[in-house]
């Protein structure tokens, strides 16, 4: 199938292309945004918890392979709503976010001093921190609900994968 997309008005703001005014406002409101994206605040928010529960509980019987697919689809769902990304750039962004997320998770979970972080609350906190950092590094602002969605899948995936295997994957 040919890609029949067109770009006619590039001047319009896109959710994932930060507007200079928004960037300026973000700098002014930096202390507030830092507070708002504090992992503890996110974990205590209702929207995060509802989304986390919905996603985490539904994936009980999934294999690690299926969970990886579920993670890609979840990120795809999030990026699809609202933004104007074309299919090709959407696929690219999904993979970019996945790579950044796993990289952050390995930094969080794989130091030799703490090789066996398997406790749910710790995994949840690590995943939220990683998703937050991933959002910052990839220029995506996730809502608390969206962090809950990704976190629910990520925590399930981390529970299914042997830690050694996870830490040694590149």
């Amino acid at each position: 199938m040919t890609n029949h997309t067109r770009s006619l008005h590039h001047s319009r703001p896109d959710r994932y292309q930060p507007d200079p005014w928004v960037a300026a406002a973000a700098l002014i409101l930096l202390p507030i945004s830092v507070l708002a994206s504090d992992p503890a605040t996110i974990i205590n928010s209702q929207s995060f918890n509802e989304a986390f529960r919905d996603y985490y509980e539904a994936l009980d019987s999934y294999t690690a392979k299926d969970l990886e697919f579920e993670l890609s689809e979840t990120i795809d769902d999030i990026l699809s709503s609202g933004s104007h990304l074309t299919r090709a750039s959407l696929d690219y962004r999904v993979r970019q976010i996945e790579r950044a997320l796993f990289s952050q998770l390995r930094k969080q979970l794989c130091p030799p001093s703490s090789p066996n972080k398997r406790d749910l609350s710790e995994l949840k906190l690590s995943s939220v921190q990683s998703i937050n950092k991933t959002g910052s590094s990839t220029g995506v602002t996730f809502t608390h609900e969206e962090i809950g969605m990704i976190s629910g899948v990520t925590v399930r995936l981390l529970q299914h994968k042997p830690m050694e295997e996870f830490c040694h994957e590149s």
């Binding site: 199938m1 890609n3 029949h4 539904a58 699809s80 750039s89």
Partner: protein
């Protein structure tokens, strides 16, 4: 055995990879070439070994003992329900790179295991009926004969991605309780998802995926319910697509979709409908039929409707609908009976033949704050469809919008270009004057009710003021017709100059005074009515009398102006009078 079918699993995996990689930005062309080369070498290698051929009984035995079957060709029909008695230790049967030469079937709910089939080639029919499966993964496979899934329930993950269906695929009354994915697939025959349900237990945003799917034959989704979101992004419908009575309760994304045949969405019920945006243009090459559809919100930005387009009796919710930059250029584009609780945006849309009625859509269109360009196009369309009242109303909003846009433009710099500044300033004064005299009181000749109400209000206020002014008015015998140069209605009659037999009759009560004032001011304003009520002055030199005299004169002339505005507005807004004037003044 044809070479291309020797390693169906690997071939399909590479085929799927290729489909994904071809969507990568430029610069990955090198990777694509390598993968393509690998695919060609692998799939056509003359040195490929023939997979082992086994019977169905041997396949059952292997699955019962290991739960796994890999890289074999099964001769004869396979009935998966015969594995119902297998050890419960195997919750999942995994079948990789297997060629099924005979029919495959699974009938009944006895087989309650997860099934994971990847890289398979089904050369004969496949039938799943009345089955209950914890999860079903049938991916990266090829179906050469019809696939039928009927009355089954899949409780967990369902993956049908990366498949190629060379024949018909039917999913009738299937319940997918969790996310199902059909992405990156090609349906070469007819595909039917009839009366099925998707995402029953899923949260609203977890989307069933039909992204990157090519439907080469007719695609039917009639009476299907999507409980959570669904994505058709970058899919292509080469023939007719039918979504009759479909329910997409959470929302659907049809971004960057080609409907090359008719697209029928009659009586659909969709939450948030996304039919494209500036970067994801969706095309309806033939008929787009949304009659009787309900949308919570709908986005048709930049959507190309090239065939007949009908939204007759469609309903849009509080979030409204946007058709901004859409091409509704077909001569049969009908918005009759459309109702929208929210704004209906048509900015920069092309709709030269749109059928619409202002009574139905006016408030929704105005809620979108259209610019003069949109209003002018709407006005032209309303006139063309014969909605005279609607066209009149639209002409008011158009004139008002033009005034607003004119007065909001920045004046040229006085220091840089004096003539241009003076021209623009003078023009602006004209605009304000026109608005004050013609725009505001008459709605640019369209609001007969408004100017009538203004006239009546002026009459009542002036009557009350006159009545409160004291004993100014009295009934007197009108002057004889033969009297030369009789005083005008607003001119006072000095008491001492009245001839005998014309004694004034002053009102006895306040009510009578008000009654006289009503009659007197009515005549002053509208030039009709009894002329025996006059302003009587006892002493013309008293200052208050002079003021009343001036006031009545102003009222007389003001009334003339009101009458003129009333007449012009009546002529403009009454079709009958307009026609009459047109006949009288060719």
């Amino acid at each position: 055995m044809p070479r291309e079918l020797k390693k169906p699993g690997i071939c399909m995996a590479l085929y799927s990879l290729l489909r994904r990689w071809k969507k990568q930005p430029t610069g990955t062309a090198g990777h694509i070439s390598i993968i393509a080369l690998a695919a060609v070498l692998t799939c056509t290698s003359a040195h490929s070994t023939e997979p082992e051929q086994i019977t169905a009984q041997e396949a059952y035995h292997q699955l019962r003992s290991t739960g796994l079957l890999s890289s074999v060709t099964i001769i004869g029909g396979v009935d998966l329900s015969k594995l119902s008695d297998a050890s419960p230790a195997f919750e999942t049967f995994q079948i990789n790179n297997v060629r099924f030469k005979g029919p495959v079937r699974l009938i009944g709910s006895g087989f309650q295991r997860s099934l994971r089939i990847e890289g398979a080639l089904f050369e004969d029919t496949v039938l799943f009926e009345a089955c209950i499966l914890p999860s079903l993964i049938l991916r990266n496979s090829v179906w050469s004969a019809p696939l039928t899934v009927r009355g089954c329930e899949i409780q967990g993950i369902s993956r049908f991605d990366g498949n190629r269906y060379d024949s018909d695929a039917r999913f009738h009354k299937v319940k997918f309780r969790r996310r199902a994915s059909f992405g990156d697939s090609t349906f070469r025959g007819r595909v039917e998802f009839l009366a099925s349900e998707f995402g029953i237990d899923d949260p609203p945003r977890k989307a069933t995926s039909f992204s990157d799917v090519i439907f080469e034959g007719p695609a039917l989704f009639n009476n299907t319910i999507f409980h959570s979101a669904v994505k058709f992004q970058a899919s292509a419908f080469e023939q007719d697509a039918s979504f009759l009575n479909v329910q997409m309760r959470s929302g659907v994304s049809f971004r960057n979709v080609h409907f090359k045949g008719d697209a029928e969405f009659r009586f659909c019920n969709i939450g948030r409908a996304d039919f494209g945006n500036r970067d994801n243009l969706t095309l309806f090459a033939e008929r787009a039929d949304f009659r009787g559809c309900k949308f919570s919100s709908a986005q048709f930005e930049f959507t190309e409707f090239r065939g007949e387009t009908s939204f007759v009796n469609a309903r849009f919710g509080a979030a409204g609908a946007t058709f901004s930059n859409a091409n509704l250029g077909n001569i049969f584009t009908d918005f009759g009976g459309v109702h929208s609780e929210g704004p209906l945006i048509l900015s920069d849309a092309y709709f030269p033949a749109l059928q619409l009625y202002w009574r139905e859509l006016g408030s929704a269109l105005l809620a979108a704050k259209p610019d003069a360009k949109v209003l002018a196009a709407l006005h032209a369309r309303l006139k063309a469809v014969g909605d005279t009242a609607g066209a009149l109303d639209a002409s008011y909003y158009l004139a008002h919008q033009r005034f607003t846009e004119d007065v909001s433009t920045k004046l040229p710099s006085l220091l840089k270009d004096i003539p241009a500044f003076l021209d623009a300033a003078g023009q602006r004064l004209v605009h304000y004057g026109e608005w004050l005299i013609w725009g505001w009181p008459t709605g640019y000749g369209t609001k007969l009710g408004r100017i009538t109400l203004i006239a009546l209000t002026c009459w009542l206020i002036s009557a009350i003021a006159v009545a409160a002014g004291g004993r100014l008015l009295a009934r007197v015998t009108p002057p004889a017709d033969s009297e030369s140069n009789p005083p005008k209605g607003y001119e006072p009659l000095p008491l001492e100059e009245l001839p005998e037999g014309r004694e004034p009759e002053f009102p006895a009560s306040w009510a009578a005074r008000l009654y006289l004032a009503l009659g007197f001011t009515f005549r002053l304003l509208f030039k009709v009515g009894a002329d025996n009520i006059r302003y009587i002055t006892r002493d013309p030199n008293i200052a208050s009398h002079t003021r009343w005299q001036t006031g009545f004169r102003i009222l007389w002339h003001f009334g003339s102006g009101l009458l003129l505005l009333l007449t012009l507005t009546l002529a403009n807004s009454s079709p009958m009078i307009s026609r009459l004037i047109g006949e009288l003044v060719p």
